[in-house]
Amino acid sequence: MPPAVLFLLRRLLLVPVTLLIITAALYAIVMLVPPERRAYLYLPPKVNPMDVLADDPLLQSLIEQHHLRDPYPVQYLGWLGRLVQGDWGWSLAARREVLPYILARTPVTVELLLYASLLFMPVGLLTGTLAAARRGSRFDHGVQLITSIGTSIPAFVMALLMMAVFYIGLRWFPLDRISDSSKIVMDTIDFQAHTGLLTIDGLLNGRPDITLDALRHLAMPAFTLAIAQWATVSRISRTFVNEELGKDYITVAHGKGLKQRMVIWRHAVRNALVPILTTSALSVASLVTTLYLVEVLFNFHGVSDVFLVATSQAAQFGTFDPAPALGFAVYTVFIVLMIMLVLDILQVLVDPRLRERFNRS
C-alpha cells in the first residue's frame, strides 16, 4: 500500500479510538452520579422535571428499565449504543432532542470556522515565513512583537474591542448571524438551504444581497477568531522555517545560484510545512474553545447555542439537565478530531515523502 494511504488509514483509525477513550472517561464521571439522579437523563420527552420528585415511582421504573444499577461496562456500552443510533437524549431546558439541535447549528459554526481559516492559515504562514527569511530585520521584530501581543490578549478582550470600535463606534458591522430584513426575505422567497452556509446559499438562490449581508455579519467574528489564531500560526511558521533555513541543503540551493524567493518558498517552506501542520494540530482544542467563545460574544448562534441555552435555562429553573452537556462534549471532540484529520490530509498533500512515493506506485 502506498505510504500516503497507510498514513491516512492510521489517522482515520485514531478517530474511533480517541472517541472511545473520551466517551469511556465521560461515562465514568457520569457513573459517579447516583442512579436516582441519572434517571433524569431518561425522562420521557415533554415530562416536566419539576413535577418529578426524588421519591417518584417513575424514577425507580426508569432505573429498572435502563439498568442504571448495572456495572459500569454494561451501562457504558448501552449508552454508546444509543449514541451510535442517534439517540443523544432530550434536553429538558431547551425542550428539544439534543442531536438534531446540534446538527441544525453545525453549518453556522462551520461557516465561521471556514472563513476564519481562509484568513489566518495563509496569512499566518506568509508573515511567519517572511519574518524567518528576514531574521533580525525590523519586519521580523515587528511581527514578533505583534504576534506575542496577539497570543497574550485574551480572545474575549479582542472581541469586546472589535465590538466597541466597529459595532458601537463606527457602526460598520452588526451582531448576530443575519439581519432581520434578510430573514424576512428568506422566509418569503422559498429560500433553499443547499449547504446551510448562508454566504453560499445566497448565491445559489440567486440572492447576492443575502450573501453580502451574511458576510457583513461574519466580518467581526471571523476576524476576531482569525487574529487570535493568526498569531499562533505565524509564530509556529517562523520557528520551523527558521529551522529549515539553517540546514545544509539551503546553502547548497544558494550555491546553485537559486533566487532567494525560490529557496524560501520551494525549499524551506515546503519542508517546514510538515512540522508546522503537526504542531498546529496541538492547538486545535484551543481553536475550538475560541471559536465557541467568539460565537457566544457576537451572538452568532452556532453549535455553542446548544449548551448556552441549556445551561442558562437549566440554571434559571433549577433543573438537572446533563443530556445536552454530554452530547455537546461528544460532538466537540468529534469536531476537534475532524479538524485534526483535515490537517493530516493537508500533510499528505504537502509532504513530498508521502506524496512522491504515492505518485510512483
Binding site: T18, L53, A54, I153, L297, L308, A315, G318, P322, A329
Partner: protein, 314 residues
Amino acid sequence: MNFLRRLAYTLRRLFSRSQSVIAALIIAAFTLAALAAPVLSPPRDPRQPPGLKIVGRQSIGVPQPPTADLRLGTTSEQYDVFHALVWGARNALRLGFVVAIVSAVIGTLVGSISGYAGGWLNGIAMRLSDAFLAFPAVIGVLVFTRLFYTDSPEWMVPPTPIPGLLADLGLNPVMVTLMTFSWMPYARLSNATIQQIKHADYVLAARSVGARPRRILFRHLLPNISAPLIVLMARDMGGLVILDAAFSFFQLGGTVEWGQLLASNRSWLLGANGNPLTYWWMAVPFTVALILFGVAWSMLGEGLNEALNPRSRR
C-alpha cells in the same frame, strides 16, 4: 551550597534580560497586591466571600464612576471595582499556582514513568494524553458542573457527595477540570525527554551498581528534565487565568473576579451612545490586569527558557 550557587547563576542569567526584569516586577506587584489585599481593601462583612464587596444600593443598577472614596467606581451590580481588582489578584495567583503545580506533577509522573518503562505502558499513556488533547477544557467544566452542581432543591434531585468532597479539599469545579485538562503537555514533554536520555551512560552506570528503577527515575532522570517543565509551568500560569475568565463568559462559573465582573457587565463594557469609553473604569482595570498577568508570565517563561536552556548558554 552547590544548589544555591546554581540558583544564583540562573537568576543572574534570567535577569540579564530586561524583559524578564519587567515580567518579574509585574508579577511581584500582583503578589504584593494579593498579600496586602486585606489592608488595601478590607472586606466589609467577614462572613461574605471576600472577593466582592457591594457598596451603595444595588437597586441603582448602573455602574457608578470613580469618586475620592471609591477609587475605581463600581460595576452595575454595585461591586467595588478596586476591591475586586485587588482580591482578584489573590484568586488568580492561587488558581494558577495550584493548577499548574498539580497538573505538572500529574503530567510528569504519567509521562516519565511511562517513558522510562516503555512498551505497551508507554503506548497507553501517550494515547491517553492524545485523547485528552482533543478535549477542550471548557467542555470538561460544562459536563462537570452540569452533572454535579445544580441549583435544584434536594427534595427534587438527589444530591451527590462530590461537591462537598471537593469543597473539603479547598477545590472548586473549575480548578478540578483545569487540572484534568492541563497535564498533557507536561506528560508529552517529560515522556519525550526521558526516552531521549534513558539510555545515557550515567543511567547505565547507576543501573550497573544496582539502583532500582524508582531511584534512577527520581534521583537521576527527573532532575535533568525539570528545567523545561518549570518553563512550561510559568507559561501556563497566565493562560490558566485567562481560560478561567473565558469560563465566566460561557456562564460556567469562572473563579477569578476579574473575569467574573467583565462577563457579568458584558453589555455595559461597550459603552453608551456610540462611545465605548463611557464606563472605562470597569473595562480598563480588569482587562489590563488580565493582559498584564498573561503577558508577564509568558515573558517570564521565555526568560526562564533562555536562562535554563544549556544550549542557549553564552
